[in-house]
Amino acid sequence: MPKQRNSITPKGRYWILYLLPALFFYVIFMAWPLLDSLRLGFFTGNTPATRSFIGFGNYVKLFTDETSRTRYWGAFGHTWYFFLINMVAQNCLGMLFAVILTNPTMKGREFYQTVVFIPTTFAVLVTGYLWKLLLNPVWCGDTLVRMHLGFLARPWLGDQSTALTCVALISCWQWMGIPTMMFVAALRNIPEDCIEAADIEGANAWQTFWYVKYPMILPVVGMITILTFVNNFNAFDVVFATENVNGAPSYATDLIGTLFYRIGIAGQHPIGIPDAGMGAAIATITFFVLMAGVVPMLKYTQREA
C-alpha cells in the first residue's frame, strides 16, 4: 500500500514529463522571443549582418531626441487616456448592464444579453470602417440634418479635440460585451442567501450592491481591469481601422501600439525603413509599464480569491 501511494507524492519527478511539451512550446514561442526582444532593444540595425550593439543608445535617443520624445510621451499620454475612457465607459457600463441583466425581475434578458455581446463578434476592421462612415459628415450629414440632428454632423474622427475620445468609445462599444458577460457570471455566483440576508437586514439595492455584491466580485473586477489595461496598452487595430498608423489627425490618436508599429515594424511612410532596435526599446518599456501596473493590481484584487 505505501509503495503505491509513493508514486503520486511530490517525491516522484514524473510531473516534469507532463510539463515538458507545454514548456517546450512556451519557451520557443513566448519566453525566448520575449527575452530576445529585450536584447534587441540594445542593438541598432535591422538584420543580423548590420546589427551592432549600442547599449542604452535607443533608450537615450527615445527620451532625448526632440521628435522621438514628443511622439513617445504623446502616445504614452494618449494610451492612458484611452485606458481611462475604457475603464469608465466600457467597464462601468458593463457593470451596470450586468447588474440589470442579473435582476430576477428583468424581462427579455437573453435578448439584451445577445445585443450587448454581438459587437464583440465583429472584426475590428469592420466596426472601424462602419464607425468611420457613421462619424463622417460627408456621408451622414444629410441624414442627420433630416433627423434634426444637424449639430451632430461634425468631423468627429478628423478633429484633434474629439478623435481620441471617439476612437476609445468605438473600442468600448465593441468590447462592452466581454466585461458584461464576466460580471454577469460573477454576480450569478453570489450565493442567494447573502443577498437574502442583506434584504432582511433592510439594505436597499444600492447598499446591497456596494456592501455585498461588489466585494464578492472584486476578483473579477480586478481581472477585467488588468485585461483592459493590457489590451489598451497593446491597442493598435482600432486606430488602424478608424484613423491611420500615424495616429491622425496630427498624432492625436497615436497610441503606444501605433508608435511601435510605425517605428519597429513598418517604418515611417514614405521611406519605410523600420528601426527594429528602437521598436524593441519601446516594447520593453511597455512591458515594464504593464508589469508595474498588473502586479499591484493582482495583489490588491486577488488576495481574497
Partner: protein, 399 residues
C-alpha cells in the same frame, strides 16, 4: 550529392542559348501582377530561354522584406528599386548591381530621369521604368453646365472653385484624414508652381534659399485658401472618400495623382485633367515624379540574363512593350516617343509639353521634412496656424 552540385556548376558555366534560366523579380506593385506577366510574356518571345517570375510584396512591407531577403542572400534576381536615398542605401550596401554600363541606359534617358537612381558620382543603380504625374481631375459635365473653363492661373482656379461653391457644388474632393494624399498629390503637386522647378529646388536643398521664404509662404497660403472649397468636414475625408466623391459627381474636381486614372474608367460622366495652375506671372510646372525603376541583384547567379532584360528595357521596343503593359497613369521615362493607348493617360502626359517638370519636392534630399511638412499643410488647412507659421515650422527642422 557533391557530384550533382559540381555537375550543376559546370552546366551553368557552359550555359548554352537553349539552357532554361529562371529569374525572380521583386516588386511593391501587387496590383500589377497581370500587366507584369503580360510584359514578361512579351519578353519571353525575345529570350525564350529566360523565364522571369514576378513576385511582388505588399507595398508598405517592400523595403523591409527586400532588405531581409538581400541580407540573407535570398533576394530576387531582378527587383524594383526605390528612388533617391532608399535606393542609394541598398547600392552602397552592395546589393544592387552597378547598371551604368547597360547599353542604352545613359543615352536613352534624360539626366533628370536618371537622377533619382544615380549615385552622386554618376553611377546608376537601376533602369528608370515609370513615373507618375499630378494634376486636377475635373468633371467636364459639371464644368459645361456651369459655363466654366479650365483655369490657367491659380487665381482663376480659386474663382472657378468659388463659382462652383455658389452653385451648390463641392468644388474639391480632397480631404486630410489619410494625411499623405494632401501632401503628395496636392501640396507637392503644386509646389513647383510657387517655388520653381528642379533648378530652384536644389537651392532650397543647399540652404541658399530658405524654406520659409515668401514663395513657400504663398504655397502654404494657397492651401489655406482652398480649404473652404474642400468638402464640409474634409478633416474626416479619406483618400477613398475623395475618390468616391469625385466618382459620384458630389465634387467637381479632385487634385490627385495619375495612378488613379484607372479608377474612373467606368465613370458615367466625362472627365479630364488639367495642370494645377501657377499663380499669375509664374510658369506652370508639373510634378512628374520618378516612381519605379528596375535593377538587378549584384549576387544573382545569372547576371548575363538579368542584364539582357534591363538592356531590353532601354530599347525602344522594350520600352514600348513595357509602357503598353503599365497600368493607366504610369508613364514611361525613356526619351522615345511612345504612344499610349488610354486617352486619359495621353491627356496626362500632354500636360508635360512645354513645361518644366520635377520630382516631388522633398524626395531628392529633404525626406526628413516629409512628416513635418505634411502636418504643416494640414494645420494650415484647418486654420490652426498661419501660412507663415507653417513655413517656419518646417524651415526650423532643416538641417
Amino acid at each position: 550529392m557533391c557530384f550533382a552540385l559540381f555537375a550543376q556548376g559546370t552546366k551553368e558555366s557552359a550555359a548554352s542559348a537553349t539552357e532554361k534560366v529562371t529569374l525572380t523579380m521583386g516588386s511593391w506593385r501587387t496590383d500589377d501582377v497581370e500587366q507584369m506577366n503580360n510584359l514578361l510574356a512579351a519578353y519571353k518571345k525575345i529570350a525564350p530561354n529566360v523565364d522571369i517570375k514576378f513576385q511582388p510584396t505588399n507595398p508598405p512591407d517592400y523595403n523591409a522584406t527586400l532588405r531581409l531577403q538581400l541580407d540573407s542572400h535570398t533576394g530576387p534576381d531582378l527587383m524594383y528599386a526605390r528612388s533617391y536615398a532608399t535606393g542609394q542605401e541598398l547600392f552602397n550596401a552592395g546589393y544592387f548591381a552597378d547598371c551604368t554600363d547597360i547599353p542604352g541606359l545613359m543615352t536613352n534617358f534624360t539626366a533628370s530621369n536618371l537622377a533619382p537612381w544615380q549615385m552622386p558620382d554618376g553611377r546608376m543603380f537601376a533602369v528608370p521604368f515609370a513615373a507618375v504625374s499630378h494634376a486636377v481631375y475635373y468633371n467636364k459635365d459639371i464644368f459645361a453646365k456651369n459655363g466654366l473653363s479650365i483655369p490657367s492661373t491659380w487665381e482663376e482656379f480659386l474663382s472657378v472653385c468659388d463659382k462652383l461653391q455658389k452653385a451648390g457644388i463641392t468644388p474639391l474632393a480632397n480631404g486630410v484624414a489619410d494625411e499623405w494624399d494632401i501632401l503628395e498629390c496636392f501640396f507637392l503637386g503644386m509646389v513647383p508652381n510657387f517655388v520653381g522647378g528642379a533648378s530652384e529646388r536644389v537651392k532650397y536643398e543647399s540652404g541658399e534659399k530658405k524654406l520659409n521664404d515668401a514663395d513657400f509662404v504663398a504655397a502654404y497660403q494657397a492651401m489655406a485658401d482652398v480649404a473652404k472649397y474642400c468638402p464640409k468636414g474634409f478633416e474626416s475625408v479619406t483618400y477613398n472618400d475623395s475618390q468616391v466623391l469625385f466618382n459620384t459627381q458630389k465634387a467637381a474636381m479632385f487634385v490627385d495623382g495619375s495612378w488613379t486614372a484607372g479608377v474612373y474608367k467606368d465613370a458615367t460622366f466625362q472627365w479630364g485633367v488639367f495642370a494645377i495652375p501657377a499663380p499669375k506671372g509664374r510658369k506652370t510646372a508639373i510634378c512628374f515624379h520618378p516612381d519605379m525603376a528596375i535593377t538587378m541583384n549584384s549576387a544573382t547567379t545569372h547576371p548575363e540574363e538579368a542584364k539582357a532584360f534591363l538592356a531590353w528595357l532601354c530599347t525602344k521596343e522594350g520600352a514600348t512593350t513595357a509602357s503598353k503593359n503599365l497600368p493607366v497613369g504610369y508613364f514611361p521615362m525613356i526619351n522615345f516617343e511612345i504612344k499610349l493607348d488610354d486617352p486619359h493617360a495621353n491627356e496626362f502626359l500632354a500636360l508635360n509639353a512645354g513645361k518644366e517638370t520635377d520630382a516631388r519636392f522633398v524626395w531628392p534630399a529633404l525626406m526628413d521634412l516629409y512628416a513635418p511638412m505634411n502636418q504643416a499643410v494640414i494645420k494650415v488647412m484647418r486654420g490652426e496656424i498661419t501660412a507663415q507659421k507653417a513655413a517656419d515650422s518646417v524651415a526650423a527642422l532643416k538641417k
